[in-house]
């Protein structure tokens, strides 16, 4: 006869069979009770790797207060605005894959860091921002546009940090490309979407757990320095590496990378108040899911998988049912431009029919 043990009175969620193996895949809920809730009025800023775009989109579609501080002018058609990355995230910073990139975005926005390699000029004369190389098709048309757009962008980033209630950050990668001059982190290897790879200037770096914890810790400190009420949700992108420069097989490199991120996220959650880890990685890639949430490339996450992640997100962080089919608030049309265009058409028709006799 054995006595009670610490396992005797644990809930179902502590047992693999009851919590993972037995339930239907949509009933597997690995989310621990978060330390805070998100109210519909809370301003939610999103950033991170490409998976973060899904989170941002669902927040917008679900009636939550997705914070947008860098919006397209209302005259711009939605498809054009999307092509220029307005509304993808809170501001037009593009994908942020590694933690140090996030720290450096903060420092650059607050003029505490200006990378040496701050602009790329392409052969056709267009200018590329090394830190958001795919932010707009065709790049920037002139240096002045580049500089003024960046001023606007940094102002929007600062406004985001200073006004948000919740910061949702999706950690994506540990592998990155770093300037040998000043440590600036590029989101993509120079030469991939602009610039030119130069081994004497650019170095591969695979960030460690300690580095990521230190970088995220520094960022949280900086963020709370300008916004003490900021609460942080950390997620990890389930999307594997598209390629690795580590010399390892891409599968083992992916496992290493995601494991490092997972450990770092756990350490950060344990170390900082009001920092919560949300297990989107486990929801998509846990064995309960098989490959069911992945597309045929075993990399992209199917829409149903994203919806499952977001259902759990809303279940635990909010007290409302998400309305995934809700259409986003329509942008207020630019009546002035539309009215003007109509008027010009009218005047031109009159002119065209004027024979002058």
């Amino acid at each position: 006869m054995t006595g009670p043990t610490p396992y005797s009175c644990l809930p179902d969620r502590a047992y693999w069979r009851r919590a993972v193996a037995a339930p239907a895949v949509t009933d597997v809920d690995p989310v621990d009770p978060p330390p805070f809730q998100i109210a519909p009025a809370d301003l939610v800023m999103t950033a991170g790797s490409c998976f973060a775009q899904h989170i941002a989109r669902y927040l917008q579609q679900s009636g939550f207060n997705a914070l947008l501080t860098e919006t397209a002018h209302p005259m711009i058609q939605p498809e054009d605005a999307a092509a220029f990355n307005y509304g993808t995230f809170t501001a037009r910073y593009g994908n942020i894959y590694v933690a140090r990139q996030l720290v450096q975005l903060f420092l650059r926005a607050y003029e505490q860091f200006t990378p040496d390699e701050d602009i790329w000029t392409e052969a056709d004369g267009c200018l590329i921002d090394p830190f958001r190389p795919q932010i707009q098709p065709g790049g920037f048309a002139s240096r002045r546009e580049y500089d003024l757009d960046r001023q606007q962008h940094f102002a929007a980033v600062r406004k985001g940090f200073e006004t948000l209630d919740i910061f949702v950050f999706t950690l994506g990668l540990t592998e990155g490309w770093v300037s040998r001059q000043d440590g600036a982190v590029f989101p993509l290897c120079p030469g991939v979407a602009g610039g030119r790879f130069e081994p004497e200037r650019h170095a591969f770096h695979n960030f460690t757990v300690d580095e990521i914890v230190a970088d995220m810790g520094r960022f949280i400190g900086l963020l709370r320095g300008v916004n003490p009420r900021a609460r942080v949700v950390l997620t990890i992108s389930p999307v594997p590496l598209i390629a690795t420069a580590s010399g390892k097989h891409v599968l083992t490199a992916t496992t290493w990378s995601k494991s490092v991120l997972r450990v770092a996220a756990g350490m950060l959650e344990a170390s900082f108040p009001n920092v919560s880890y949300f297990p989107s990685y486990e929801v998509i890639l846990g064995p309960q899911a098989g490959n069911g949430w992945l597309a045929s490339d075993l990399r992209s996450v199917r829409e149903e998988g994203v919806a499952q992640v977001m259902r759990l997100f809303f279940r635990h962080f909010t007290d409302t049912e998400p309305r995934f089919d809700a259409t986003p608030e329509p942008q207020i049309a630019d009546r002035a431009t539309e009215d003007m265009a109509e008027l010009v058409k009218l005047v031109c028709e009159e002119e065209a029919l004027d024979r002058g006799d």
Partner: protein
């Protein structure tokens, strides 16, 4: 004698007026006009982008030795004449140092270009569509007249007066930027389709790049017959040179 078909929308009118003032006589040229806003040609393009049958018939008629277009050419005006409730501006790479509208947000140049292309969807595609029907004939496109200076716009604001009162006129550099952007949009089409792009006659452009006073008329956006005369001279010189060559 070179027989030339001139096709266009509202900016064709001043050329037609000048032609009439000359009694229909231009040295070396026989001109025929096709006003594309006339009911007979509307819509210029069908839903599938097909050219109106009458227009198709005209532009493929063997009697013409050349086609000259002044299609579209006013999309810039809708955007550039007045400021916007959400004030914006953009930087032209050809003249990046020109002053910007005070306090305006900056929209990327290529995004404004996309928007302009979208706004002129009823007129601009007519040019390549016609060119496709007449791929071998000499084909010219005329730049639209430079913007009318604020002095004359204010004097003859017509329907635009409430907008001007409400939002204020743009600074001239902004107006000019939009006109140049439109020129770039049309020139790109010309370059892609083998059409010769003829800039506005130099004599009609003032020191600021705006329309010369002599070509002003009682309209905030269209030029008067003086501009048409300059274009006719330009065309006569162009074809004389071409024929001599």
């Amino acid at each position: 004698m070179t027989r030339v078909l001139l096709v266009g929308h509202s900016h064709l009118t001043c050329i037609r007026q000048a032609f009439d003032q000359r009694g229909g006589q231009i040295e070396g040229l026989e001109l025929e006009f096709a006003q594309l806003a006339d009911a007979g040609f509307v819509p210029n393009l069908g839903p599938a982008g097909d050219v109106h049958p009458l227009l198709r018939q005209l532009v493929t008629a063997p009697r013409f030795a050349a086609i000259v277009s002044i299609i579209g050419g006013n999309a810039h005006f809708s955007l550039g004449l007045t400021n916007n409730p959400r004030r914006y501006d953009f930087i032209s790479p050809e003249a990046p140092d020109l002053p910007l509208e005070d306090g305006a947000e900056i929209i990327p140049y290529w995004l404004v270009m996309r928007h302009l292309i979208g706004m002129s969807h009823e007129t601009t595609p007519v040019l390549p569509a016609i060119r496709a029907l007449a791929p071998r004939i000499p084909f010219l496109h005329l730049e639209s007249p430079p913007p009318v200076p604020a002095e004359n716009v204010s004097r003859h604001a017509k329907h635009f007066a409430p907008f001007i009162k409400h939002y204020g006129l743009s600074r001239p550099e902004r107006v000019l930027r939009f006109w140049r952007l439109q020129g770039k949009m049309m020139k790109d089409i010309c370059d892609q389709t083998g059409i010769t792009y003829l800039p506005a006659p130099a004599s009609m452009v003032d020191a600021e790049g705006l329309l010369q006073r002599v070509a002003w008329r009682d309209d905030p956006t269209h030029a008067g017959p003086a501009y048409g005369h300059a274009v006719l001279d330009q065309l006569a010189a162009h074809f004389a040179q071409r024929n001599a060559a």
